[in-house]
């Protein structure tokens, strides 16, 4: 693959947790522009660690992290990354921390400096895009599991990301919400990388699978 075309390019990444368990051992990873891929592997193989390194939530012991064509090292380098890559947590409850849906969706844009006057429209549009019209004043913690997942996707999309990273987005989803999620992903024109155990879901949404194994990645294109 042409590395210059990669959104994310990791080289020789090593990472060890404070308690001494090494999880990444010289990992190389290139994520292409317009890629739509799944990331699979058993629990503890380092999938979550990897995406946390991409988002700058963990710092590798050594190795080179390049995202959107720039080298990323310091905390400040990642501010730009976080504004441009939307990250969906495994547990939507971790992501929804504002009282109402509208405030949660507005939180990111307001932090990015979008004026309050525009945010209201942005919130409405984003919710509309996910067919969550009228959810503005719903109380986040009272939403169902599926609704929480979609709203947390809305909080991320409201920041107008250029790419999505998702950690097990299908956990606990009923089939209907699952279908909606598949539909939304397919009609969006964003590249994305999805950590998932759900092969059926990956088959529908991605055209490439990366398999993690012993701290490295095996690339594996599916027809």
């Amino acid at each position: 693959m042409d590395e210059s075309a990669a959104i994310i390019s990791l080289k020789e990444i090593y990472f060890t947790y404070p308690r001494g368990k090494q999880v990444l051992e010289g990992l190389d990873f290139n994520f292409p522009q317009n890629g739509r891929a799944g990331l699979v592997g058993p629990t503890g193989s380092g999938k979550t660690t990897l995406v946390h390194i991409i988002m700058g939530l963990l710092k590798p012991d050594s190795g080179r992290v390049e995202i959107f064509g720039s080298r990323r090292e310091k905390e400040s380098d990642f501010r730009d990354v976080r504004a441009r890559i939307g990250f969906l947590f495994q547990d939507a409850d971790d992501q929804l921390f504002c009282p109402t849906v509208a405030e949660d969706v507005a939180f990111g844009p307001l932090n990015l400096g979008v004026p309050k006057s525009e945010v209201r429209k942005l919130v409405k549009d984003t919710l509309g895009q996910l067919e969550l019209d009228g959810f503005e004043n719903r109380v986040t913690y009272k939403l169902s599991g599926g609704e929480k997942r979609l709203v947390s996707l809305a909080t991320v999309l409201a920041m107008k990301p250029e790419m999505l990273l998702m950690d097990e987005p299908t956990t606990g989803l009923d089939d209907k919400t699952m279908e909606r999620l598949v539909h939304l992903l397919l009609k969006s024109n964003l590249p994305y990388l999805i950590i998932s155990h759900d092969n059926e879901f990956l088959k529908q949404t991605t055209n490439r699978i990366y398999r993690m194994n012993k701290g490295t990645i095996l690339d594996q294109v599916r027809g």
Partner: protein, 253 residues
């Protein structure tokens, strides 16, 4: 488990602006707590009861709440009439109940129930989230309101985790008894909940950082005072003022 069982309803009290309800509840509670005249306390109790009725709450549930809260008051009845000095009315063995003691305990009972009913009618009829928004609009420090909000938000999440772990203990035939095994196991349960809350708080903090959190929580406006709110506020203030006048002047016999 529904912790906000009175907050869903469509009475005019439910629809009042929470800021108005908070202000009224505080003024009412303070006035009644400081008062001691029977007629005033009785008027307050009647007023609070009227509000509860107007809120059209399930009276069985309100009664249940009152019962629990009055257990402390019941304890008072077992002691105060006998330990308060005054003129003896009746005696049970060596214990002599005094007129003054009974009056004092009765006044505490009236006060307590008036305020509790007031709280049920005014505060329990708003969702915590509405109250949080209201608090941010009045004099409460923002950091405290944030703490209040987050505590309630994650109370539900941690309560679910608690129920899951408790279910896992039940599945393995755990039956709490008065013994060391029980205490140790429950201490482990508390410890495990704390560990999970710690891990979760790190994840939440990350989620906030990823969305550009820089120490500021934003407030989108939700409230606009309506005529009903103002009417209610004016009537309540007049009523509470009347209570105060009755309590602290000699206008009433």
């Amino acid at each position: 488990m529904n912790f906000e069982e009175f907050s869903t309803g469509s009475s005019f009290i439910h629809r009042l602006d929470p800021r108005i309800k908070i202000i009224t509840a505080v003024l009412f509670s303070v006035t009644v707590a400081l008062g001691d005249r029977f007629i005033i306390l009785s008027a307050a109790l009647v007023a609070a009861l009227t509000l509860v009725l107007a809120a059209r709450l399930k009276m069985m549930r309100v009664g249940y709440r009152l019962l629990i809260v009055n257990s402390f008051i019941l304890l008072l009845w077992l002691f105060l009439p006998f330990s308060y000095p005054g003129e003896t009315v009746f005696a049970i063995g060596p214990l002599e109940a005094t007129r003054e003691g009974i009056i004092y305990t009765l006044s505490i009972t009236l006060k307590s129930n008036a305020i509790i009913l007031g709280l049920i009618a005014l505060l329990a009829t708003s969702s915590i989230f509405a109250l949080v928004h209201a608090l941010r609009h009045i004099w409460v420090p923002d950091k405290l309101v944030q703490l209040f909000f987050f505590t309630f938000r994650y109370f539900h999440v941690m309560h679910q985790e608690y129920l899951r772990l408790r279910g896992a203990m039940r599945i393995r035939c755990f039956k709490p008894r008065t013994n060391w095994h029980t205490y140790r196991s429950l201490a482990y349960l508390v410890g495990m909940l704390l560990v999970r809350s710690f891990d979760r708080s790190e994840r939440i903090y990350q989620a906030m950082a990823l969305r550009g959190y820089q120490g500021k929580f934003w407030l989108l406006d939700h409230f606009s005072l309506r005529i009903n709110d103002l009417v209610f506020l004016v009537i309540s203030i007049i009523f509470i003022f009347a209570l105060a006048v009755g309590q602290w002047t000699s206008l009433l016999p």
